[in-house]
Symmetry: C2
Amino acid sequence: MKALMISTDNFEDLELFYPLHRLKEEGVTVELASKKGGPITGKHGYSIGVDLTLDEVNPGEYDILVLPGGRAPEKVRLEERALEIARFFFRENKPVGAICHGVQILVSAGVMEGRRATCYIGIRDDLKLAGARYEDKEVVVDGNLVTSRNPDDLYAFGRELVKKLQE
Amino acid sequence: MKALMISTDNFEDLELFYPLHRLKEEGVTVELASKKGGPITGKHGYSIGVDLTLDEVNPGEYDILVLPGGRAPEKVRLEERALEIARFFFRENKPVGAICHGVQILVSAGVMEGRRATCYIGIRDDLKLAGARYEDKEVVVDGNLVTSRNPDDLYAFGRELVKKLQE
């Protein structure tokens, strides 16, 4: 199985590395895509190499999409290719995990209408305006979609991502 | 089940938070002990509250001991109470996980003689001098002992910690 993560500089470090290692633990190959190649660096200074650019992504190759938070999603959501990739996963009903500000990418992709979801508290009103039903819980699972609020929720986020892959 | 983690300021952030969330995912209650109470802060700036001081620890209450790395273990290994706690887990043959510099605490506790283990490459000679058989692998499991080299190995470290709890 293969997982795709999309992010850029100023990602939330734990929110990128926790799901990455958690999925690797399950034997999943995890690939990280960004607008440009080269390493990207988190808010807390961790760096990681990008595996492929957004233009190089063939979303049909992947079994799950994971969107970490931090300041990165406000950059990622400006990339039309990132939004197309997100829409592909929703159209195909494939698992999508988004945590904290990662949900901003889904708001811009226009896929949140009528969906139950959570996110970082500071953007909950944006999520509601996008038509989602916001819930203040450590993890919300609604069909293909798994969302969490912040790094404190990673234990629950990881658990539900893994469950989705086992369905 | 209950897990005990021991660390202090300048812990390696991912090495503390990954096992913490991974064990929580399994329903394990994780408690963090340090010399003093209050929050401790990692090398990368993440903070976490301490649940109890080393003096308050009753090691018999816990099913596993986990020792993250960073600069913290060079402080922790100076605390005789931390070494006593580590020796207790070895005497009782209960699971112990140590990653990166976390192994320094086990070297000081005098429990590495004849054990297969790994650690951060910069301290491998210390591990050998303590009588251990060093292996350059992402994770080494030898009886109750699970060791890894660095944050890149967290997926394997987490996997083996969970397996130990299931034995």
